[in-house]
Symmetry: C2
Subunit: 308 residues, 2 copies
Protein backbone atom coordinates (compact mmCIF):
# COMPACT_ATOMS: atom_id res chain seq x y z
CA UNK A 1 0.00 0.00 0.00
CA UNK A 2 1.20 3.50 -0.78
CA UNK A 3 -0.47 5.45 1.98
CA UNK A 4 1.96 6.89 4.53
CA UNK A 5 1.54 5.14 7.88
CA UNK A 6 3.70 5.23 10.98
CA UNK A 7 3.68 3.29 14.21
CA UNK A 8 3.13 5.57 17.21
CA UNK A 9 3.51 4.56 20.84
CA UNK A 10 3.11 6.07 24.26
CA UNK A 11 4.83 4.71 27.36
CA UNK A 12 2.81 5.13 30.55
CA UNK A 13 3.58 4.12 34.13
CA UNK A 14 2.31 0.56 33.79
CA UNK A 15 1.55 -0.02 30.13
CA UNK A 16 2.69 0.73 26.61
CA UNK A 17 0.19 1.63 23.94
CA UNK A 18 0.72 1.57 20.19
CA UNK A 19 -1.26 2.16 17.03
CA UNK A 20 -0.65 3.04 13.43
CA UNK A 21 -1.38 6.63 12.44
CA UNK A 22 -1.64 8.07 8.94
CA UNK A 23 -0.90 11.60 7.80
CA UNK A 24 -4.51 12.67 8.32
CA UNK A 25 -4.38 11.60 11.96
CA UNK A 26 -6.43 8.43 11.49
CA UNK A 27 -5.47 5.70 13.99
CA UNK A 28 -6.02 1.98 13.95
CA UNK A 29 -5.03 -1.47 15.23
CA UNK A 30 -4.36 -0.17 18.74
CA UNK A 31 -2.51 -2.53 21.07
CA UNK A 32 -1.46 -2.32 24.71
CA UNK A 33 0.94 -4.37 26.77
CA UNK A 34 1.38 -4.32 30.50
CA UNK A 35 4.92 -3.30 31.33
CA UNK A 36 5.94 -1.83 34.63
CA UNK A 37 8.78 0.47 33.66
CA UNK A 38 9.03 2.06 37.09
CA UNK A 39 10.73 -0.96 38.72
CA UNK A 40 14.27 -0.26 39.81
CA UNK A 41 15.62 -3.51 38.36
CA UNK A 42 14.76 -2.51 34.77
CA UNK A 43 18.09 -2.08 33.04
CA UNK A 44 18.87 -0.45 29.71
CA UNK A 45 18.88 -3.79 27.86
CA UNK A 46 15.50 -4.75 29.40
CA UNK A 47 13.92 -1.47 28.36
CA UNK A 48 15.19 -1.75 24.80
CA UNK A 49 14.14 -5.41 24.54
CA UNK A 50 10.59 -4.76 25.85
CA UNK A 51 10.07 -1.93 23.38
CA UNK A 52 11.75 -3.65 20.42
CA UNK A 53 9.79 -6.91 20.92
CA UNK A 54 6.48 -5.05 21.16
CA UNK A 55 7.22 -2.96 18.08
CA UNK A 56 8.60 -5.91 16.06
CA UNK A 57 5.45 -7.97 16.72
CA UNK A 58 3.37 -5.02 15.56
CA UNK A 59 5.44 -4.54 12.42
CA UNK A 60 5.20 -8.28 11.63
CA UNK A 61 1.39 -8.08 11.72
CA UNK A 62 0.71 -4.68 10.20
CA UNK A 63 2.28 -3.91 6.83
CA UNK A 64 3.33 -0.58 5.39
CA UNK A 65 4.78 1.11 8.48
CA UNK A 66 7.48 3.59 7.44
CA UNK A 67 8.71 5.04 10.72
CA UNK A 68 8.14 4.84 14.47
CA UNK A 69 7.41 7.63 16.95
CA UNK A 70 7.56 7.14 20.71
CA UNK A 71 6.50 9.31 23.64
CA UNK A 72 8.39 8.45 26.82
CA UNK A 73 8.23 9.88 30.35
CA UNK A 74 11.74 11.28 30.61
CA UNK A 75 14.13 14.03 29.63
CA UNK A 76 15.48 14.21 26.08
CA UNK A 77 17.97 16.70 24.68
CA UNK A 78 16.60 18.34 21.55
CA UNK A 79 15.65 15.77 18.94
CA UNK A 80 18.56 13.46 19.79
CA UNK A 81 16.30 10.63 20.93
CA UNK A 82 18.72 10.09 23.82
CA UNK A 83 16.98 9.58 27.17
CA UNK A 84 19.07 11.80 29.47
CA UNK A 85 17.20 10.73 32.60
CA UNK A 86 13.79 9.56 33.72
CA UNK A 87 12.17 10.17 37.11
CA UNK A 88 10.58 6.68 36.96
CA UNK A 89 13.80 4.92 36.00
CA UNK A 90 16.51 6.77 37.91
CA UNK A 91 18.97 3.92 37.24
CA UNK A 92 18.99 4.76 33.51
CA UNK A 93 21.04 7.67 32.20
CA UNK A 94 21.97 8.67 28.65
CA UNK A 95 20.24 5.80 26.87
CA UNK A 96 20.36 6.11 23.06
CA UNK A 97 16.76 4.91 22.78
CA UNK A 98 16.01 6.07 19.25
CA UNK A 99 19.29 4.87 17.79
CA UNK A 100 19.18 1.41 19.37
CA UNK A 101 15.56 0.83 18.43
CA UNK A 102 16.19 2.07 14.91
CA UNK A 103 19.11 -0.32 14.46
CA UNK A 104 17.07 -3.28 15.72
CA UNK A 105 13.92 -2.49 13.75
CA UNK A 106 15.52 -1.10 10.57
CA UNK A 107 13.19 1.91 10.52
CA UNK A 108 13.58 5.55 11.54
CA UNK A 109 12.66 5.89 15.24
CA UNK A 110 11.89 9.25 16.86
CA UNK A 111 11.59 9.54 20.64
CA UNK A 112 10.58 12.54 22.72
CA UNK A 113 9.24 13.44 26.18
CA UNK A 114 5.58 12.44 26.58
CA UNK A 115 4.22 15.88 27.47
CA UNK A 116 6.09 17.36 24.54
CA UNK A 117 4.55 14.66 22.31
CA UNK A 118 1.11 15.75 23.52
CA UNK A 119 2.02 19.33 22.48
CA UNK A 120 3.13 18.08 19.05
CA UNK A 121 -0.12 16.12 18.72
CA UNK A 122 -2.30 19.16 19.47
CA UNK A 123 -0.25 21.23 17.05
CA UNK A 124 -0.48 18.81 14.12
CA UNK A 125 -3.93 17.30 14.60
CA UNK A 126 -5.71 18.97 17.51
CA UNK A 127 -6.89 22.21 19.07
CA UNK A 128 -3.78 24.16 18.05
CA UNK A 129 -3.54 22.93 14.47
CA UNK A 130 -1.03 24.99 12.50
CA UNK A 131 0.19 27.18 15.40
CA UNK A 132 3.92 27.91 15.30
CA UNK A 133 4.09 28.39 19.07
CA UNK A 134 2.25 26.38 21.69
CA UNK A 135 2.38 25.68 25.38
CA UNK A 136 0.53 22.45 26.15
CA UNK A 137 -0.37 21.59 29.74
CA UNK A 138 -1.28 18.12 30.98
CA UNK A 139 -3.54 17.99 34.02
CA UNK A 140 -3.55 14.56 35.61
CA UNK A 141 -2.18 13.16 38.84
CA UNK A 142 0.55 15.73 38.22
CA UNK A 143 0.80 18.86 36.08
CA UNK A 144 3.16 18.77 33.08
CA UNK A 145 4.02 20.98 30.17
CA UNK A 146 5.40 20.84 26.64
CA UNK A 147 6.57 23.82 24.62
CA UNK A 148 6.79 24.33 20.87
CA UNK A 149 8.60 27.45 19.61
CA UNK A 150 8.87 28.30 15.93
CA UNK A 151 7.43 24.84 15.07
CA UNK A 152 10.21 23.09 17.02
CA UNK A 153 9.92 21.07 20.23
CA UNK A 154 11.76 23.04 22.92
CA UNK A 155 13.66 20.88 25.41
CA UNK A 156 16.09 23.28 27.09
CA UNK A 157 19.75 22.75 27.89
CA UNK A 158 19.32 19.47 29.76
CA UNK A 159 15.97 18.24 28.42
CA UNK A 160 14.13 19.53 31.48
CA UNK A 161 12.30 22.54 30.07
CA UNK A 162 8.65 23.23 30.92
CA UNK A 163 8.52 22.01 34.47
CA UNK A 164 5.28 23.95 34.40
CA UNK A 165 3.78 22.03 37.33
CA UNK A 166 6.47 23.42 39.61
CA UNK A 167 5.91 27.11 38.94
CA UNK A 168 5.09 28.76 42.26
CA UNK A 169 1.67 30.30 42.67
CA UNK A 170 1.65 30.74 46.45
CA UNK A 171 4.33 32.01 48.80
CA UNK A 172 4.30 32.41 52.54
CA UNK A 173 3.32 30.17 55.40
CA UNK A 174 0.02 28.91 53.97
CA UNK A 175 1.57 27.62 50.71
CA UNK A 176 0.91 23.92 50.13
CA UNK A 177 3.72 21.36 49.94
CA UNK A 178 4.22 19.82 46.49
CA UNK A 179 5.36 16.29 45.69
CA UNK A 180 8.65 17.80 44.45
CA UNK A 181 9.40 19.03 47.97
CA UNK A 182 8.77 22.67 47.07
CA UNK A 183 6.11 24.95 48.50
CA UNK A 184 3.27 26.54 46.57
CA UNK A 185 3.79 24.82 43.18
CA UNK A 186 0.78 24.92 40.85
CA UNK A 187 0.75 21.09 40.95
CA UNK A 188 -0.10 21.35 44.66
CA UNK A 189 -3.39 23.10 43.68
CA UNK A 190 -4.36 22.01 40.18
CA UNK A 191 -3.59 18.28 39.87
CA UNK A 192 -6.22 15.63 40.59
CA UNK A 193 -4.05 14.51 43.53
CA UNK A 194 -4.23 18.04 44.94
CA UNK A 195 -7.98 18.38 44.37
CA UNK A 196 -8.62 15.13 46.23
CA UNK A 197 -6.31 16.14 49.09
CA UNK A 198 -7.73 19.65 49.46
CA UNK A 199 -11.31 18.39 49.40
CA UNK A 200 -10.47 15.70 51.98
CA UNK A 201 -8.93 18.35 54.27
CA UNK A 202 -11.96 20.60 53.99
CA UNK A 203 -14.71 17.97 54.16
CA UNK A 204 -13.10 14.93 55.75
CA UNK A 205 -13.97 12.63 52.84
CA UNK A 206 -11.52 11.11 50.39
CA UNK A 207 -13.25 10.93 47.01
CA UNK A 208 -12.22 10.59 43.38
CA UNK A 209 -11.88 13.78 41.35
CA UNK A 210 -14.88 12.71 39.30
CA UNK A 211 -17.12 12.42 42.36
CA UNK A 212 -15.89 15.77 43.71
CA UNK A 213 -16.78 17.29 40.34
CA UNK A 214 -20.25 15.70 40.43
CA UNK A 215 -20.76 17.18 43.89
CA UNK A 216 -19.69 20.60 42.60
CA UNK A 217 -22.33 20.31 39.87
CA UNK A 218 -24.94 19.29 42.46
CA UNK A 219 -24.35 22.39 44.57
CA UNK A 220 -21.52 21.43 46.95
CA UNK A 221 -19.94 24.87 47.39
CA UNK A 222 -16.70 23.49 48.81
CA UNK A 223 -16.27 21.14 45.86
CA UNK A 224 -16.86 24.02 43.46
CA UNK A 225 -14.38 26.23 45.29
CA UNK A 226 -11.68 23.55 45.08
CA UNK A 227 -12.03 23.44 41.27
CA UNK A 228 -12.24 27.24 41.03
CA UNK A 229 -9.05 27.59 43.02
CA UNK A 230 -7.37 24.98 40.83
CA UNK A 231 -8.40 27.05 37.80
CA UNK A 232 -7.19 30.28 39.39
CA UNK A 233 -3.83 28.68 40.23
CA UNK A 234 -3.48 27.48 36.66
CA UNK A 235 -4.34 30.93 35.33
CA UNK A 236 -1.71 32.49 37.57
CA UNK A 237 0.97 30.01 36.47
CA UNK A 238 0.02 30.52 32.81
CA UNK A 239 0.38 34.29 33.33
CA UNK A 240 3.95 33.76 34.54
CA UNK A 241 4.77 31.63 31.49
CA UNK A 242 3.19 34.17 29.13
CA UNK A 243 5.11 37.08 30.73
CA UNK A 244 8.32 35.22 29.93
CA UNK A 245 7.47 33.68 26.57
CA UNK A 246 4.84 36.03 25.08
CA UNK A 247 3.06 32.96 23.74
CA UNK A 248 -0.63 33.36 22.86
CA UNK A 249 -1.95 29.82 22.42
CA UNK A 250 -2.19 27.20 25.12
CA UNK A 251 -3.91 23.83 25.14
CA UNK A 252 -4.83 21.66 28.10
CA UNK A 253 -5.37 17.90 28.20
CA UNK A 254 -5.83 15.32 30.92
CA UNK A 255 -8.38 13.92 33.30
CA UNK A 256 -9.29 17.30 34.79
CA UNK A 257 -10.72 18.46 31.45
CA UNK A 258 -13.96 16.89 32.68
CA UNK A 259 -14.30 19.93 34.95
CA UNK A 260 -13.54 22.45 32.18
CA UNK A 261 -16.82 24.35 32.70
CA UNK A 262 -15.65 25.33 36.20
CA UNK A 263 -11.90 25.46 35.57
CA UNK A 264 -11.88 27.61 32.44
CA UNK A 265 -13.70 30.77 33.66
CA UNK A 266 -11.64 30.79 36.88
CA UNK A 267 -8.47 30.24 34.86
CA UNK A 268 -9.17 33.05 32.38
CA UNK A 269 -10.08 35.51 35.12
CA UNK A 270 -6.84 34.86 37.00
CA UNK A 271 -4.81 34.88 33.78
CA UNK A 272 -6.06 38.28 32.68
CA UNK A 273 -5.73 39.63 36.21
CA UNK A 274 -2.06 38.66 36.41
CA UNK A 275 -0.91 39.52 32.88
CA UNK A 276 0.74 42.85 32.18
CA UNK A 277 -1.66 45.25 30.43
CA UNK A 278 -0.53 44.91 26.80
CA UNK A 279 -0.96 41.12 26.97
CA UNK A 280 -4.40 41.08 28.61
CA UNK A 281 -7.00 39.52 26.32
CA UNK A 282 -4.43 38.22 23.83
CA UNK A 283 -4.06 34.70 25.18
CA UNK A 284 -6.37 31.81 24.39
CA UNK A 285 -6.45 28.63 26.45
CA UNK A 286 -8.12 25.77 24.62
CA UNK A 287 -9.26 22.36 25.78
CA UNK A 288 -7.55 19.51 23.95
CA UNK A 289 -9.54 18.01 21.13
CA UNK A 290 -7.42 14.84 21.26
CA UNK A 291 -7.12 14.37 25.01
CA UNK A 292 -5.57 10.98 25.83
CA UNK A 293 -4.66 10.43 22.17
CA UNK A 294 -2.61 13.65 22.09
CA UNK A 295 0.63 11.91 23.09
CA UNK A 296 0.36 9.07 20.60
CA UNK A 297 -0.63 11.46 17.80
CA UNK A 298 2.31 13.70 18.66
CA UNK A 299 4.66 10.72 18.55
CA UNK A 300 3.11 9.99 15.15
CA UNK A 301 3.63 13.61 14.07
CA UNK A 302 7.39 13.28 14.69
CA UNK A 303 7.55 10.06 12.67
CA UNK A 304 5.42 11.51 9.87
CA UNK A 305 7.64 14.60 9.67
CA UNK A 306 10.62 12.25 9.26
CA UNK A 307 8.93 10.66 6.22
CA UNK A 308 7.82 13.91 4.58
CA UNK B 1 40.22 51.41 5.59
CA UNK B 2 39.40 47.69 5.40
CA UNK B 3 38.64 46.95 9.01
CA UNK B 4 34.99 46.08 9.68
CA UNK B 5 33.35 48.84 11.71
CA UNK B 6 29.72 49.47 12.49
CA UNK B 7 27.88 52.34 14.13
CA UNK B 8 26.06 51.21 17.27
CA UNK B 9 23.56 53.28 19.21
CA UNK B 10 21.46 53.00 22.32
CA UNK B 11 18.34 55.06 22.94
CA UNK B 12 17.74 55.93 26.59
CA UNK B 13 14.97 57.91 28.25
CA UNK B 14 16.57 61.30 27.69
CA UNK B 15 19.58 60.77 25.45
CA UNK B 16 20.91 58.81 22.52
CA UNK B 17 24.41 57.43 22.58
CA UNK B 18 26.43 56.22 19.62
CA UNK B 19 29.91 54.90 18.90
CA UNK B 20 31.70 52.86 16.30
CA UNK B 21 32.44 49.26 17.24
CA UNK B 22 34.72 46.81 15.44
CA UNK B 23 34.45 43.04 15.31
CA UNK B 24 36.71 42.64 18.35
CA UNK B 25 34.39 44.80 20.44
CA UNK B 26 36.61 47.87 20.42
CA UNK B 27 34.62 51.11 20.65
CA UNK B 28 35.51 54.67 19.78
CA UNK B 29 34.37 58.21 18.94
CA UNK B 30 31.44 58.03 21.33
CA UNK B 31 28.81 60.76 21.01
CA UNK B 32 25.65 61.61 22.89
CA UNK B 33 22.75 63.88 22.14
CA UNK B 34 19.99 64.96 24.46
CA UNK B 35 16.66 63.85 23.06
CA UNK B 36 13.57 63.39 25.16
CA UNK B 37 11.79 60.57 23.37
CA UNK B 38 9.17 60.11 26.07
CA UNK B 39 7.23 63.28 25.15
CA UNK B 40 3.78 62.52 23.84
CA UNK B 41 4.08 64.97 20.94
CA UNK B 42 6.93 62.99 19.32
CA UNK B 43 5.49 61.61 16.09
CA UNK B 44 6.86 58.93 13.82
CA UNK B 45 8.47 61.48 11.46
CA UNK B 46 10.12 63.29 14.41
CA UNK B 47 11.58 60.08 15.75
CA UNK B 48 12.97 59.05 12.39
CA UNK B 49 14.38 62.52 11.72
CA UNK B 50 16.12 62.77 15.12
CA UNK B 51 17.76 59.38 14.67
CA UNK B 52 18.62 59.86 10.98
CA UNK B 53 20.17 63.32 11.56
CA UNK B 54 22.27 62.04 14.44
CA UNK B 55 23.48 59.01 12.50
CA UNK B 56 24.11 60.98 9.28
CA UNK B 57 26.29 63.49 11.11
CA UNK B 58 28.24 60.61 12.61
CA UNK B 59 28.67 58.91 9.23
CA UNK B 60 29.82 62.20 7.66
CA UNK B 61 32.59 62.52 10.23
CA UNK B 62 33.68 58.91 10.71
CA UNK B 63 34.59 56.91 7.63
CA UNK B 64 34.33 53.19 7.01
CA UNK B 65 31.02 52.41 8.75
CA UNK B 66 29.37 49.40 7.06
CA UNK B 67 26.13 48.96 9.01
CA UNK B 68 24.16 50.41 11.91
CA UNK B 69 22.77 48.68 14.98
CA UNK B 70 20.29 50.32 17.34
CA UNK B 71 18.93 49.34 20.75
CA UNK B 72 15.56 50.94 21.45
CA UNK B 73 13.20 50.75 24.47
CA UNK B 74 10.22 49.07 22.81
CA UNK B 75 8.74 45.88 21.46
CA UNK B 76 9.99 44.40 18.20
CA UNK B 77 8.72 41.31 16.44
CA UNK B 78 11.57 38.94 15.67
CA UNK B 79 14.30 40.62 13.67
CA UNK B 80 11.84 42.71 11.62
CA UNK B 81 13.14 46.03 12.95
CA UNK B 82 9.52 47.16 13.22
CA UNK B 83 8.72 48.93 16.49
CA UNK B 84 5.39 47.31 17.44
CA UNK B 85 4.89 49.55 20.48
CA UNK B 86 6.87 51.44 23.08
CA UNK B 87 5.84 52.14 26.68
CA UNK B 88 7.55 55.56 26.47
CA UNK B 89 5.95 56.52 23.16
CA UNK B 90 2.45 55.06 23.31
CA UNK B 91 1.38 57.22 20.36
CA UNK B 92 3.68 55.24 18.04
CA UNK B 93 2.64 51.82 16.73
CA UNK B 94 4.12 49.63 14.00
CA UNK B 95 6.93 51.97 12.98
CA UNK B 96 9.26 50.44 10.38
CA UNK B 97 12.28 51.93 12.12
CA UNK B 98 14.99 49.80 10.53
CA UNK B 99 13.62 50.07 6.99
CA UNK B 100 13.09 53.83 7.06
CA UNK B 101 16.51 54.55 8.55
CA UNK B 102 18.17 52.17 6.12
CA UNK B 103 16.55 53.93 3.15
CA UNK B 104 17.63 57.35 4.39
CA UNK B 105 21.18 56.37 5.33
CA UNK B 106 21.85 53.85 2.54
CA UNK B 107 23.28 51.30 4.96
CA UNK B 108 21.88 48.14 6.58
CA UNK B 109 20.15 49.11 9.85
CA UNK B 110 19.27 46.56 12.55
CA UNK B 111 17.03 47.54 15.46
CA UNK B 112 16.07 45.52 18.50
CA UNK B 113 14.72 45.95 22.04
CA UNK B 114 17.32 47.48 24.36
CA UNK B 115 17.36 44.69 26.98
CA UNK B 116 17.68 42.12 24.21
CA UNK B 117 20.60 44.14 22.81
CA UNK B 118 22.26 43.92 26.21
CA UNK B 119 21.82 40.13 26.05
CA UNK B 120 23.36 40.04 22.56
CA UNK B 121 26.26 42.18 23.80
CA UNK B 122 27.04 39.85 26.70
CA UNK B 123 26.80 36.87 24.37
CA UNK B 124 29.16 38.23 21.71
CA UNK B 125 31.63 40.22 23.79
CA UNK B 126 30.90 39.80 27.48
CA UNK B 127 30.37 37.43 30.38
CA UNK B 128 28.45 34.87 28.28
CA UNK B 129 30.75 34.85 25.26
CA UNK B 130 29.85 31.96 22.95
CA UNK B 131 26.82 30.70 24.88
CA UNK B 132 23.96 29.51 22.63
CA UNK B 133 21.35 30.27 25.29
CA UNK B 134 21.30 33.24 27.64
CA UNK B 135 18.89 35.07 29.88
CA UNK B 136 20.20 38.58 30.56
CA UNK B 137 18.67 40.66 33.34
CA UNK B 138 18.98 44.43 33.65
CA UNK B 139 18.73 45.82 37.18
CA UNK B 140 18.14 49.55 37.17
CA UNK B 141 15.18 51.75 38.06
CA UNK B 142 13.21 48.79 36.68
CA UNK B 143 14.02 45.13 36.08
CA UNK B 144 14.19 43.94 32.46
CA UNK B 145 15.16 40.81 30.61
CA UNK B 146 16.41 39.63 27.24
CA UNK B 147 16.47 36.04 26.06
CA UNK B 148 18.66 34.31 23.49
CA UNK B 149 17.73 30.76 22.46
CA UNK B 150 19.81 28.73 20.01
CA UNK B 151 21.87 31.88 19.21
CA UNK B 152 18.72 33.81 18.21
CA UNK B 153 17.11 36.78 19.95
CA UNK B 154 13.76 35.56 21.26
CA UNK B 155 10.98 38.16 21.07
CA UNK B 156 7.75 36.15 21.43
CA UNK B 157 4.56 36.45 19.44
CA UNK B 158 4.07 40.18 19.95
CA UNK B 159 7.61 41.32 20.80
CA UNK B 160 6.87 41.33 24.53
CA UNK B 161 8.79 38.27 25.69
CA UNK B 162 10.89 38.37 28.86
CA UNK B 163 8.84 40.68 31.01
CA UNK B 164 11.10 39.26 33.68
CA UNK B 165 10.57 42.19 36.04
CA UNK B 166 6.91 41.29 36.35
CA UNK B 167 7.31 37.68 37.44
CA UNK B 168 5.58 37.32 40.81
CA UNK B 169 7.70 36.45 43.79
CA UNK B 170 5.22 37.26 46.55
CA UNK B 171 1.52 36.49 46.86
CA UNK B 172 -0.93 37.34 49.59
CA UNK B 173 -1.73 40.49 51.49
CA UNK B 174 1.82 41.61 52.20
CA UNK B 175 2.91 41.56 48.53
CA UNK B 176 4.24 44.93 47.35
CA UNK B 177 2.54 46.91 44.59
CA UNK B 178 4.59 47.15 41.37
CA UNK B 179 4.67 50.08 38.95
CA UNK B 180 2.81 47.86 36.45
CA UNK B 181 -0.18 47.74 38.79
CA UNK B 182 0.44 44.11 39.75
CA UNK B 183 1.25 42.78 43.21
CA UNK B 184 4.44 41.01 44.22
CA UNK B 185 6.45 41.47 40.99
CA UNK B 186 10.21 41.00 41.35
CA UNK B 187 10.65 44.62 40.20
CA UNK B 188 8.85 45.68 43.40
CA UNK B 189 11.74 44.14 45.39
CA UNK B 190 14.87 44.14 43.26
CA UNK B 191 14.96 47.45 41.35
CA UNK B 192 16.79 50.50 42.67
CA UNK B 193 13.40 52.21 42.94
CA UNK B 194 12.18 49.39 45.19
CA UNK B 195 15.33 49.35 47.30
CA UNK B 196 15.01 53.09 47.96
CA UNK B 197 11.30 52.77 48.77
CA UNK B 198 11.70 49.79 51.10
CA UNK B 199 14.60 51.40 52.94
CA UNK B 200 12.62 54.64 53.30
CA UNK B 201 9.66 52.72 54.76
CA UNK B 202 11.85 50.90 57.26
CA UNK B 203 14.15 53.76 58.29
CA UNK B 204 12.26 56.91 57.34
CA UNK B 205 15.10 58.23 55.16
CA UNK B 206 15.01 58.56 51.39
CA UNK B 207 18.52 57.86 50.13
CA UNK B 208 20.15 56.86 46.86
CA UNK B 209 20.79 53.18 46.26
CA UNK B 210 24.51 53.88 46.43
CA UNK B 211 24.27 55.44 49.90
CA UNK B 212 22.04 52.57 51.12
CA UNK B 213 24.71 50.16 49.87
CA UNK B 214 27.46 52.13 51.64
CA UNK B 215 25.42 51.93 54.85
CA UNK B 216 25.03 48.17 54.38
CA UNK B 217 28.81 47.88 54.11
CA UNK B 218 29.24 50.01 57.24
CA UNK B 219 27.04 47.71 59.33
CA UNK B 220 23.48 49.05 58.84
CA UNK B 221 21.58 45.74 59.23
CA UNK B 222 18.40 47.09 57.67
CA UNK B 223 20.26 48.30 54.59
CA UNK B 224 21.92 44.91 54.26
CA UNK B 225 18.62 43.10 54.63
CA UNK B 226 17.03 45.20 51.87
CA UNK B 227 19.77 44.10 49.44
CA UNK B 228 19.61 40.51 50.65
CA UNK B 229 15.87 40.42 50.07
CA UNK B 230 16.35 41.95 46.63
CA UNK B 231 18.83 39.15 45.88
CA UNK B 232 16.48 36.49 47.24
CA UNK B 233 13.60 37.84 45.13
CA UNK B 234 15.79 37.77 42.06
CA UNK B 235 16.88 34.20 42.81
CA UNK B 236 13.27 33.14 43.17
CA UNK B 237 12.26 34.77 39.87
CA UNK B 238 15.27 33.23 38.12
CA UNK B 239 14.20 29.82 39.47
CA UNK B 240 10.79 30.26 37.83
CA UNK B 241 12.41 31.16 34.51
CA UNK B 242 14.81 28.22 34.72
CA UNK B 243 11.98 25.78 35.52
CA UNK B 244 10.31 26.85 32.28
CA UNK B 245 13.31 27.31 30.02
CA UNK B 246 15.96 24.95 31.45
CA UNK B 247 18.53 27.61 30.68
CA UNK B 248 21.83 27.43 32.58
CA UNK B 249 23.55 30.76 31.97
CA UNK B 250 22.32 34.14 33.14
CA UNK B 251 24.03 37.50 33.18
CA UNK B 252 23.07 40.62 35.11
CA UNK B 253 23.88 44.23 34.32
CA UNK B 254 22.77 47.58 35.66
CA UNK B 255 23.32 50.01 38.50
CA UNK B 256 22.64 47.42 41.21
CA UNK B 257 25.73 45.43 40.20
CA UNK B 258 27.58 47.71 42.62
CA UNK B 259 25.98 45.64 45.41
CA UNK B 260 26.90 42.27 43.81
CA UNK B 261 28.81 41.10 46.91
CA UNK B 262 25.53 41.16 48.89
CA UNK B 263 23.10 40.36 46.08
CA UNK B 264 24.85 37.33 44.60
CA UNK B 265 25.04 35.00 47.63
CA UNK B 266 21.40 35.75 48.54
CA UNK B 267 20.37 35.22 44.93
CA UNK B 268 22.18 31.88 44.57
CA UNK B 269 20.79 30.58 47.86
CA UNK B 270 17.21 31.38 46.85
CA UNK B 271 17.75 30.07 43.33
CA UNK B 272 18.98 26.69 44.46
CA UNK B 273 16.30 26.50 47.15
CA UNK B 274 13.50 27.02 44.60
CA UNK B 275 14.82 24.93 41.69
CA UNK B 276 13.61 21.36 41.23
CA UNK B 277 16.26 18.86 42.35
CA UNK B 278 17.80 17.86 39.00
CA UNK B 279 18.49 21.51 38.16
CA UNK B 280 20.02 22.51 41.50
CA UNK B 281 23.65 23.57 41.11
CA UNK B 282 23.49 23.65 37.29
CA UNK B 283 22.76 27.35 36.84
CA UNK B 284 25.38 30.09 36.84
CA UNK B 285 24.50 33.75 37.29
CA UNK B 286 27.31 36.04 36.17
CA UNK B 287 27.83 39.76 36.60
CA UNK B 288 28.06 41.61 33.31
CA UNK B 289 31.59 42.36 32.14
CA UNK B 290 30.29 45.11 29.85
CA UNK B 291 27.70 46.72 32.09
CA UNK B 292 26.41 49.97 30.59
CA UNK B 293 28.15 49.21 27.30
CA UNK B 294 26.26 45.90 26.94
CA UNK B 295 23.39 47.46 24.99
CA UNK B 296 25.55 49.36 22.54
CA UNK B 297 27.81 46.35 22.00
CA UNK B 298 24.77 44.14 21.40
CA UNK B 299 23.43 46.61 18.86
CA UNK B 300 26.88 46.42 17.27
CA UNK B 301 26.76 42.60 17.35
CA UNK B 302 23.56 42.63 15.25
CA UNK B 303 25.13 45.00 12.72
CA UNK B 304 28.38 43.02 12.62
CA UNK B 305 26.47 39.77 12.03
CA UNK B 306 24.76 41.45 9.07
CA UNK B 307 28.21 42.19 7.55
CA UNK B 308 29.71 38.73 8.17
Amino acid sequence: MDKLRVLAADVGGTNIRAAWVDDLGNMGDERRIQADLSRDDVGEADLIRILADFFQAYLDDIPGIQAIGLGFPGFFLGDSGVLAASPNLPQLLDVALAEQLSNMLSLPVLVQNDALCAALGEQRFGAAKGEANLLHITLGTGVGGGLILHHQAYTGESGMAMEFGHLRVQTGVSARRCGCGGLGCVEAYASSTAIQAIYAELKGETLTTKVIYQRACEGDAVARRVFEEAGASLGQAIAEAVKLLDIHTLTISGGLLGAWDILHPALMQALNQHLISPLKGKVKVLPSTLNDAAGILGAAAMALAECD
